[in-house]
């Protein structure tokens, strides 16, 4: 069993790394595409050339980033089949559809028009080109919508049931999958985070130009757009990131309890732990600094509803495992005799918990014979890594509030016309550049580490979802991705910095550029 677990751990590591890498580029694409649309709209409305220059300049940086986003996105789509074959078989009936529709409805739009954005300046009227720019932005955002519908279903698997004839989950209600509350909230939260990233990128680079006294005209205008857009987005990401979606399912409740390192259920309204050292072994949080009432208010929006603690949720999960075992044994009987009506009735009754029984497969294949100790262990295994979630969440939220303050203060100063004189704030803006990425990646850690031990919450444990491939194969691709991606990231950052140093104006046509000698291998 140990090699199988190695494949699980390595596959998780590879998926996590490639997903986090992909998400270095996605938020910037989301935010910058909208900012390009805004700047070009101003150009078309005012006719001022400086806005066209600004759009083209940020467009160059957008292009470098977009290429990386596209390239790393293909990996994500292929990996479900490559590394998570049982997952693909087990939930492909549901999960494949939003991915395919993403390609059909969104990615085609984005990728087809991005070529015209760069190559169409002289071939299209001002208005048509503006339309093309907005179509790229709309395509990017729709793309995020469908991906997050797929991802939201993994967190809150609505509109599907287990089919014993095909041994997999199948769709019962597409409406429920598309309008899944968790998916919708995640969409708004994630694209808002992308807008913050785009705004911070433009604001930071503009701040550097202003500090150096270069490209003042474009930098000043870009700064105004970025700060107003950034302030609105930062408010949106915090307000709409609100934890109400976390009450949607039992496992989402487990996530919020883990994020808060709240081991025991408290009398409502629950307190919020600002600081503490969660200890997974003793089920305690040491040195906790707590604010009364706050957690209960933000998660339940009421004073008298209870927020369940980890221990209580574990006990409930133990019950789910026991009834899941009833479903599992009914399924076994049904497979021996497809016409066993009692077994079918029992399966229907306990069907929704069958995933919990599968948690026992980590201990033994014949899970009907699981011991009480194994069941308790499996139930405690439904608690994700509390300390990691606790800190990732606090980093994300802390940065979120910092963005509101920073954008808010800078926006106030630029609207009264004195931001350029407050040089320390320009320095803060410049150095804040990496922070939205840190916040976004922390957010994904909360979302996806918080989903463990499930790949689809309550339906399929992660360790069962992998492909039947060898450890060495996964090691080859894992190191392949790490090496290849690191090299590409270095080149990407180098080219970004080069484009920023050259600044706006470099990308205007230069008639009769000097000839470049023939490349050597060209005979």
């Amino acid at each position: 069993m140990s090699t199988a677990m190695d494949v699980v751990q390595l596959s998780r590591l590879q998926f996590g790394l490639t997903a986090m890498y992909h998400f270095l580029f996605v938020p910037l694409t989301l935010g910058l595409s909208i900012l390009l649309g805004i700047m070009e709209s101003v150009y078309v409305m005012t006719g001022k050339e400086v806005w066209r220059q600004a759009t083209k300049f940020w467009g160059v940086l957008f292009g470098i980033n977009f290429a990386m986003g596209v390239a790393t996105g293909i990996t994500m789509e292929f990996q479900f089949g490559m590394n998570w074959a049982y997952y693909s078989h087990y939930v492909g009936d549901i999960f494949g559809a939003p991915l395919a529709i993403e390609g059909l409805m969104a990615f085609f739009l984005e990728a087809t028009f991005v070529g015209l954005f760069f190559f169409g300046w002289d071939r299209l009227s001002k208005e048509t080109h503006l339309g093309v720019t907005w179509l790229v932005a709309i395509g990017s955002n729709l793309s995020a919508l469908w991906i997050l519908i797929a991802n939201g279903w993994m967190l809150n698997p609505v509109g599907a049931h287990f089919n014993p004839d095909t041994m997999r989950m199948e769709v019962t209600d597409f409406g429920a999958i598309i309008f899944n509350i968790v998916a919708q909230e995640k969409f708004v939260h994630t694209v808002s985070a992308g807008y913050v990233t785009g705004a911070m990128f433009v604001a930071s680079v503009s701040a550097i130009y202003l500090l150096l006294g270069k490209h003042i005209e474009i930098a000043r205008r870009s700064m105004t757009v970025a700060l107003s857009f950034g302030l609105a987005s930062a408010l949106s990401v915090v307000v709409l990131g609100d934890a109400s979606g976390y009450t949607a399912t039992e496992n989402q409740r487990m996530k919020i309890a883990s994020v808060e390192a709240m081991w025991e259920t408290e009398p409502p309204p629950a307190a919020f732990t600002v600081f503490g050292l969660p200890n997974q072994a003793t089920h305690r949080t040491d040195d906790a600094l707590r604010i009364p009432w706050v957690l209960g208010l933000i998660t339940t929006h009421s004073l008298d509803e209870k927020v369940p603690g980890i221990t209580e949720l574990v006990q409930r999960n133990e019950d789910h495992i026991l009834s899941g075992l009833l479903a599992y044994s009914a399924l076994e009987k049904l497979r021996a005799d497809r016409n066993d009506a009692n077994a079918r009735a029992q399966l229907d009754q306990y069907m929704s918990d069958i995933g919990f029984a599968l948690l026992l497969k980590q201990f033994r294949p014949d899970i009907e014979n699981a011991t009480d100790a194994e069941i308790t262990k499996a139930a405690w295994g439904t608690v994700p890594d509390v300390a990691l979630l606790f800190w990732a969440f606090r980093i994300m939220v802390g940065l979120g509030f910092f963005f509101i303050l920073l954008f808010g203060f800078a926006f106030y100063l630029i609207s009264i016309g004195c931001l350029l004189r407050v040089r320390w704030l320009l320095w803060v803006l410049a150095f804040a550049l990496p922070l939205p990425w840190i916040a976004a990646e922390s957010g994904w850690i909360v979302a996806e580490v918080g989903r463990q031990p499930w790949v689809v919450e309550g339906v399929l444990p992660t360790f069962l979802a992998v492909s039947g491939i060898s450890t060495s194969n996964v090691l080859v691709t894992l190191f392949g991705f790490i090496g290849f991606y690191t090299a590409l990231l270095l080149v990407d950052i180098f080219l970004m910095i080069k484009a920023i140093r050259l600044g706006p104006g470099h990308n205007v046509p230069q008639p009769r550029a000097r000839e470049l000698p023939a490349a050597s291998g060209a005979e």
Binding site: M82, L104, G115, G120, S467, V476, L495, L516
Partner: protein, 379 residues
């Protein structure tokens, strides 16, 4: 109303349509990248090649992404078995496909001959490797690959990368490369300025002949050297998608038996000959659009030939033939097939309409003067 059997058949056709769409649309980008070192000698000539495909390859690549997504949505078991079974081959294809967008972008950012030669080579690799691997994958899919299921449908694959590189699959890989070079050549003949266009036309004419020779060799190999598969039990066309409910036997010559049973299917291989030969004629007559269309028809013929000879198999298992994946037992549920069909019917015409608009805006040749005047804004 559309019943399950019809929906499965429609989705088999749509799978073919998307793969053909990928081959025709992104095939010329891959082919142009493969031809880059051979049809363009100076940096300016190379930039003509790159800017011929530069504005459109990104959209074209979505055919592949949509194709993979559609396999996931409509044929989840096929997606799971093929992508994990061909694990390292998929990784190589993936690495090549990742290299392509970055090569385009990175190459143009710095005007240094060594830098640019490096990325030109990367582009060549990024065109060649996917063309070869996808062909090899199809060859293996026709021969059968070594996988089996346990009764919970957990799949085990007992092959490795070297096992994929058998002579028949390699022959299919070469067919794929030849057709992609032909297609890329006809596109550059249509789109690029001289002298690139003339060289590309010559390459395409040669590739068309090589394609036909390899295609005939593949047919002979299939007849005498590849065991096909046939279903030997009852398999209801609207039954549950569980590939363990039937029996399958191997049989000499079974791979071509569809063409004997249904002679109209010979249209597909005939189209390869008609397409490739007329592409040669039209290239010689400098009728660029007709040559491109003829080349596209040949690609359609090659892919349809492969699909029709396998039908109703999608991916036979050489290890446990009974576990083979067929059109009738490895699809999504009826609801998903119907829902996805509606999505395709609504959105694919829109995609085709705006794609046509983009190509209209970008019509005309990429000339030497154009790339000279726009050295900072183009690739």
């Amino acid at each position: 109303m559309l019943d399950y059997e019809i929906l499965r058949l429609i989705w088999w056709l749509l799978l073919g349509t998307l793969l053909i769409g990928f081959a025709i649309m992104d095939g010329f980008d891959l082919g142009a990248a493969m031809l880059l070192p051979f049809v363009a000698r100076t940096d300016k000539e190379r930039r003509i090649v790159l800017n011929s495909i530069g504005p459109v390859w990104e959209g074209n690549q979505v055919w592949l992404i949509l194709g993979a997504g559609a396999i996931f949505a409509a044929w989840p078991t096929l997606y799971a078995v093929a992508f994990s079974g061909f694990y390292l081959a998929m990784f190589l294809a993936l690495a090549a496909l990742i290299l392509r967008p970055v090569s385009f972008k990175f190459r143009s950012e710095i005007e240094n001959p060594v830098w640019r030669t490096f990325w030109d080579f990367a582009l060549f690799i990024s065109g060649t490797v996917p063309a070869l691997i996808f062909g090899v994958a199809v060859g293996n899919a026709l021969r059968g690959v070594p996988f089996r299921f346990d009764d919970a449908l957990h799949m085990t694959y007992e092959g490795d990368l070297l096992g994929l590189l058998n002579p028949f699959a390699l022959l299919c890989g070469l067919v794929s490369c030849a057709m992609i070079v032909m297609h890329g050549g006809t596109y550059l003949a249509l789109k690029a300025d001289q002298p690139v266009a003339g060289r590309a036309a010559n390459w395409a004419r040669g590739a068309a002949l090589i394609l036909l020779a390899l295609f005939i060799a593949g047919g002979l190999y299939a007849k005498f050297g590849v065991e096909g598969y046939r279903i030997t039990s009852d398999l209801p066309h609207d039954g549950p998608s569980n590939p363990l409910l039937k029996t399958v036997a191997r049989g000499e010559g079974a791979l071509l038996s569809n063409f004997v049973a249904y002679p109209w299917m010979l249209i597909a291989p005939a189209l390869v000959f008609i397409g490739a030969l007329s592409a040669r004629v039209f290239l010689a007559a400098r009728r660029g659009w007709l040559a491109f269309t003829a080349s596209a028809a040949a690609l359609l013929g090659v892919i349809a030939t492969a699909g029709l000879s396998a039908f109703p198999f999608l991916l036979p298992s050489s290890l446990d033939p009974n576990a083979s994946l067929t059109v009738w037992d490895s699809s999504s549920s009826r609801s998903t097939l119907l829902f996805m069909l509606i999505a395709v019917v609504v959105f694919l015409p829109i995609v085709l309409a705006y794609t046509a608009f983009v190509y209209r805006v970008l019509r005309g040749r990429v000339t030497m003067a154009y790339v000279e005047d726009n050295s900072a804004t183009l690739y």
